[in-house]
C-alpha cells in the first residue's frame, strides 16, 4: 500500500486545541470579544438553559457572558473527538462555571481561510441548586 501524506497534521491538532483553550479562557475572564474571535460569525449555539428555555442563537452566548461576567473558578478538559482535513469536533467538559454550573460542550470546527473556527456549540448543563443559576 502506498504511503500518502497524513492529512491530520500535528500543527492542525495544536491549532484546534488552541481555539478550544481560547474559548475556555474567554469564558473564564468573561471576555466577549475573545469569545467572538473563536466563532464563525454565522455560527450557532444550541442548548437548554436551567429555566427550560431553548436557545439556538450564538448571540445568546455573547449576551450571557456580557451579563454574567467571568467564571474565575472554571475547570476544563478538552478532547478532540474526531478530525478530518478541514473539519473537526471537540469535546469540552466544564466544571464550576457561574453558580457552580457544569457543561458538556460539543464544538464543531471548520478550517476557514487557514484558521480553525467554531461553527457550532451544543451544550448540556449540570446544576445542583437552580436558585444559584443566573
Amino acid at each position: 500500500m502506498q504511503n500518502t501524506e497524513n492529512v491530520n497534521s500535528i500543527a492542525d491538532y495544536d491549532a484546534i486545541l488552541n481555539v478550544a483553550q481560547v474559548y475556555v479562557d474567554g469564558l473564564k475572564i468573561g471576555d466577549v470579544e475573545q469569545l467572538k474571535q473563536t466563532f464563525h460569525p454565522d455560527g450557532l449555539m444550541a442548548g437548554t438553559m436551567p429555566d427550560g428555555k431553548l436557545t439556538t442563537k450564538l448571540q445568546f452566548l455573547f449576551d450571557f457572558t456580557a451579563e454574567n461576567g467571568p467564571a474565575p473558578e472554571v475547570k476544563s478538559h478538552i478532547s478532540i473527538l474526531h478530525k478530518a482535513e478541514t473539519a473537526a469536533v471537540v469535546l469540552v467538559e466544564l466544571e464550576n462555571l457561574q453558580g457552580g454550573v457544569g457543561s458538556t460542550d460539543y464544538l464543531s470546527m471548520l478550517l476557514v481561510d487557514g484558521e480553525w473556527k467554531i461553527i457550532s456549540k451544543a451544550f448540556n448543563l449540570y446544576w445542583v441548586n437552580m436558585d444559584k443559576v443566573c
Binding site: 444550541a46 442548548g47 439556538t56 478530518a84 473537526a88 464543531s108
Partner: protein, 165 residues
C-alpha cells in the same frame, strides 16, 4: 577464604531462587475477582437508538432524494458548513442541503457508517462516515443533535469531502 566465598554465593543464589519460587507470574490472576460491570441506564440506551435512527433517516433521505425525510431530521434553525470538492465553501442554513438534493436528486449510491462519539441526556455528537456521496467522493459529517420535546434533531452539520480511491 575462597571456599567461604563460594558457600556464601551458593547460599545467596538459593535465597534468590527461593524468592522467585514465592513469586510466580500469575499470582494476581487467581486472586483478582472480576468487578461487576456498571449497568448503562436504560434511558441512555434508548436515546442512543433514537439518535442513530435519526441519522439513518438522514442517510435514507440523501439516498432516496427525499427532502421531506431530511427536514424531519434537522431542526428548523440548523446550520450546515463545509467545502465542496472544488474547495468552495457552503455556509449557513441547512436549506442549502435541501436545495442541493432538490436540484441534483438522490445520492443513490451513498452508504454510511455512523457512530455516536459522545452523548449526554440532551445532546449528542455523531460521526457519519459517508461513502459515495458522488462517484469517487466521500464525506465525513459531524452532526450535533439536541433532544427537544423528547425528539432528537440535528442542529448542526459540519463536513469534510474527500476523494475516494
Amino acid at each position: 577464604m575462597k571456599k567461604a566465598l563460594l558457600i556464601l554465593l551458593s547460599l545467596y543464589s538459593t535465597v534468590i531462587l527461593a524468592n522467585n519460587d514465592l513469586k510466580p507470574y500469575h499470582t494476581n490472576a487467581t486472586e483478582t475477582k472480576n468487578p461487576e460491570l456498571p449497568k448503562i441506564p436504560t434511558q441512555e440506551i434508548e436515546d442512543k437508538k433514537a439518535i442513530l435512527a435519526v441519522i439513518d433517516t438522514y442517510i435514507k433521505g440523501l439516498r432516496t432524494g427525499r427532502v421531506d425525510l431530511l427536514q424531519k431530521c434537522f431542526h428548523k434553525d440548523a446550520i450546515m458548513f463545509g467545502y465542496s470538492i472544488q474547495n468552495k465553501i457552503t455556509e449557513g442554513s441547512v436549506q442549502h442541503l435541501y436545495d442541493i438534493i432538490e436540484k441534483h436528486g438522490a445520492l443513490a449510491k451513498v452508504t454510511s457508517k455512523n457512530s455516536v462519539l459522545n452523548q449526554t441526556s440532551n445532546t449528542a455528537s455523531v460521526l457519519a462516515e459517508l461513502k459515495t456521496t458522488a462517484p469517487h467522493e466521500n464525506s465525513t459529517d459531524y452532526l450535533s443533535l439536541m433532544k427537544i420535546n423528547g425528539e432528537w434533531k440535528i442542529i448542526s452539520k459540519v463536513y469534510h469531502l474527500s476523494y475516494a480511491n
